[in-house]
């Protein structure tokens, strides 16, 4: 349970020594209670007080790191159930599955397909984050290790799905430096699996036949000292998996039950049973509701475009408007002579407009001015987008472009007259009111 400032204060030395950086012990306690500073900032706390406090002030959900370098991902660490309450901090990560039952050619082909999806969307690189390597018990151990070796040669971080202790050991021997996840513990084998994972220094995935069994297994693992876990919600049914994903997260965050304070793993590929469309629906469902890792069988552009767009939206920080930097964005290989268009710095507006401009194929320069991250009409109503702000911005950047044609958003057509007065050497053109109409408009221009 979260402690109040007063409760924390009672455990401080109350000497007001300022070693922690706060003027008084009381001030320090209040900050700790709000989560602004960590309890360890005070060097004079007794061991006992420290352990009580760090337990009580620890976040409700652990932050688990997997992978290394550029492919290191942070999972969990959430503090709210709904994004409007604060923000979600760790994005859902998608793992594309590969199985040891596939032959070499099929594995190579699939790895090649996975590599094809790699693009940027509002300054975020979009690609399959993880590879999920399933050990099919009918295949030989060596075959699985060979698959792991092959996958380890890619830059992607791995999730090993393997319940067999010896096979897991052999697989980890060839990939543990990449800090993979070993998803393989259950009520029957958790002690051995935990030992294997701990020895290799990797995160352990745990599953159970139902929530009670999972809970008990996690409690036993924690008791044995392993708190580097991910909870697999299971594949018995879609209903149970959804129930588990929601209840695990809710227990951790709303009810402060730390035994379930770990990221989750959802195998949407398995749950969908080979129906690729159902898998798409489930990937979206579990992105919305609490999948930290979502396993899918296929990630072509058809899946990637909506899924990554959804994820980008759900995990934006609601406290910050999504903005793009002001400046000149050349589109379709535009040079300084290309026509200029201007709009606001609200990311959604920029994204819609630049998408349509790209689609038109017409080279043009998109000039983004500072409108406080508001949309065109809102910015205009708030006085952040006016003939004065546009004229000022154009004066700043006019030496970087040679064209003297400026297209303004159709929704602020009223600014045309004022702008013509303020920018006498520019031809001011009014665009259509909706972004989708830009393609035709530019082609006809």
């Amino acid at each position: 349970m979260a402690l109040t400032g007063i409760q924390i204060f009672k455990m401080t030395p109350k000497t007001n020594c300022k070693d922690c950086g706060s003027p008084t012990c009381m001030a320090f306690s209040m900050k700790v209670a709000q989560g602004a500073v960590d309890i360890s900032a005070c060097p004079h706390m007794s061991e006992e007080a420290l352990s009580t406090l760090s337990e009580a002030t620890a976040p409700p959900m652990k932050t688990i790191k997997i992978g290394t370098g550029e492919n290191e991902f942070t999972l969990g660490g959430e503090t709210v159930l709904y994004r409007h309450e604060k923000t979600f901090v760790s994005k859902t990560r998608y793992a594309v599955s590969l199985c040891s039952s596939l032959d070499d050619a099929a594995i190579d082909a699939k790895l090649e397909d996975i590599a094809k999806v790699d693009y940027e969307r509002i300054s975020e690189r979009m690609q399959a984050d993880l590879l999920y390597l399933n050990y099919c018990a009918d295949t030989a151990k060596d075959k699985y290790v060979a698959l792991v070796e092959k996958a380890a040669a890619t830059r992607r971080t791995l999730v090993l799905n393997c319940k067999d202790v010896e096979t897991a050991k052999a697989a980890l021997a060839v990939c543990k430096d990449k800090k993979p996840v070993l998803n393989g513990a259950d009520a029957a084998n958790y002690a051995e699996m935990s030992a294997v994972a701990t020895e290799a220094g990797v995160v352990l995935g745990v599953t159970g036949s139902d929530l009670n069994e999972l809970y008990d297994t996690v409690a036993a693992l924690e008791k044995a000292g392993n708190k580097n876990l991910i909870l697999d919600v299971g594949v018995s049914s879609i209903k149970d998996a959804f129930g588990a994903a929601v209840q695990i997260r809710r227990a951790a965050i709303k009810d402060q039950d730390r035994t379930f304070g770990y990221p989750s793993l959802v195998n949407a590929a398995k749950l969908a049973g080979g129906d690729k469309y159902l898998q798409q629906a489930l990937a979206a469902l579990f992105t919305m509701k609490y999948g930290s890792i979502v396993v899918i069988d296929q990630l072509s552009y058809a899946e990637a475009l909506p899924l990554f767009g959804l994820r980008q939206n759900v995990f934006t920080d609601p406290q910050k408007p999504m903005t793009v930097e002001t400046g000149i964005y050349p589109i379709n290989g535009a040079d300084e002579n290309a026509v200029c268009l201007t709009t606001v710095d609200f990311a959604l507006t920029y994204f819609m407009v630049s998408g349509e401009l790209e689609r038109s194929g017409v080279p043009c320069n998109l000039l983004i001015s500072d409108a406080g991250g508001l949309s065109v009409l809102t910015a205009w109503a708030a006085g952040k987008l006016s003939s004065a702000t546009i004229a000022k911005f154009i004066e700043e950047v006019k030496d970087k472009v040679k064209s003297r044609k400026l297209v303004i958003p159709g929704k602020v057509a009223v600014l045309k007259g004022d702008l013509e007065a303020k920018l006498p050497d520019w031809e001011i053109i009014v665009a259509p009111p909706e972004a989708v109409q830009l393609v035709k408009f530019l082609k006809d221009m």
Binding site: I238, Y301, G355
Partner: protein
């Protein structure tokens, strides 16, 4: 020590709104738990799926949709095929052609379409306007009149025209009223308040709280629905307890990802597959956020979302 399962049940409930008549009538809402949370309590009325058809027939549709409808001569035939689609609970006729900036069909012409479709099918019918506020006032009033006795849902009354549409659909002709606002909990509530002040019963209102395609400001949809369901259930806000209906296809098939041709974007692959995925993923997200009904158009998307709902509820 087993997991201490704490259920989240509320003393408030989402209103139950019935659309359509006789054995094919459907009920939206009624639950006292958060969307799809059947582990907290029962959801008697699973979310429903509508099939979108428009008066513009099938000219602009992708191959899979054209193929499903085949050689259809009339709107009545299209409507019948839509009704028969696997997973469909209701049909949504969108009067797209009424748009003065588009085909600008007359009210009389579209009234004939409404009549034809209304007579052709027995499943519940939802009528959506052309999005032009003035035209919709006339068009939807007329549609409500024609469909008397069918208990249709009229989409939708907005801030600018709620008086005309609320009064005709909700009061004069006893239909259900759709209340459309733009992804903002306060606007949604305000509109419900003014429509009920007209005399329309709260139990006759279904909300369209605004929609977006995944990737296009969808976070606003998520947060608006999250907050509405929280206010409706945990604070018992009677002006936000109306079930939510979300038109999905009219948005998702109009973004770059679903529109770009294979010639323009060869690496993206089949346009139809992209469109289906966009429709499915947006619909699944809408249901997770709190929609009690979604409106889709591709047969594959409808079959898939129907399957997902059956698995979940």
């Amino acid at each position: 020590m087993p997991f201490n399962q704490k259920k989240q049940k509320f003393n408030a409930a989402i209103n139950t709104v019935e659309i359509g008549c006789k054995e094919k009538a459907i009920k939206l809402g009624g639950e006292s738990v958060f969307p799809l949370y059947i582990f907290d309590g029962p959801i008697e009325n699973a979310p429903k799926i509508g099939v979108e058809i428009t008066d513009m027939e099938l000219d602009n549709e992708v191959a899979g949709i054209k193929e499903y409808y085949g050689e259809t001569a009339s709107m009545a035939e299209i409507a019948k095929k839509a009704e028969a689609m696997e997973g469909a609970d209701f049909v949504c006729l969108r009067l797209e052609g009424g748009d003065p900036n588009g085909a600008d069909k007359s009210v009389e012409e579209l009234a004939a379409v409404v009549k034809e479709v209304g007579e052709a099918i027995t499943c519940p019918l939802v009528i959506a306007g052309c999005k032009n506020v003035d035209k919709d006032s006339e068009l939807l009033t007329k549609a409500a009149e024609i469909l008397q006795g069918k208990n249709a849902l009229i989409l939708s009354a907005r801030e600018e025209n709620y008086k005309a549409i609320g009064a005709s659909a909700g009061l004069a002709y006893n239909q259900k009223v759709g209340a459309e606002s733009a992804v903002d909990i306060n606007l949604a509530k305000q509109l419900n308040v003014v429509i009920t002040q007209l005399g329309v019963k709260a139990e006759d209102i279904v909300m369209n709280v605004g929609t977006a395609t995944a990737g296009y400001g969808y976070e606003y949809v998520v947060s608006t629905m999250d907050r509405i369901k929280a206010a409706a259930l945990s604070q018992n806000d009677t002006m936000l307890q109306m079930p939510i209906i979300t038109p999905v296809s009219e948005e998702t098939w109009n973004v770059k990802e679903s529109m770009a041709s294979e010639a323009d974007m060869p690496e993206w692959g089949s346009r139809e597959e992209r469109g289906i995925a966009m429709e499915i993923m947006t619909a699944a997200s809408d249901l997770a956020a709190g929609s009690n009904a979604v409106i889709l158009k591709h047969p594959q998307s409808i079959a898939t979302i129907s399957k997902m709902i059956k698995e979940l509820v």
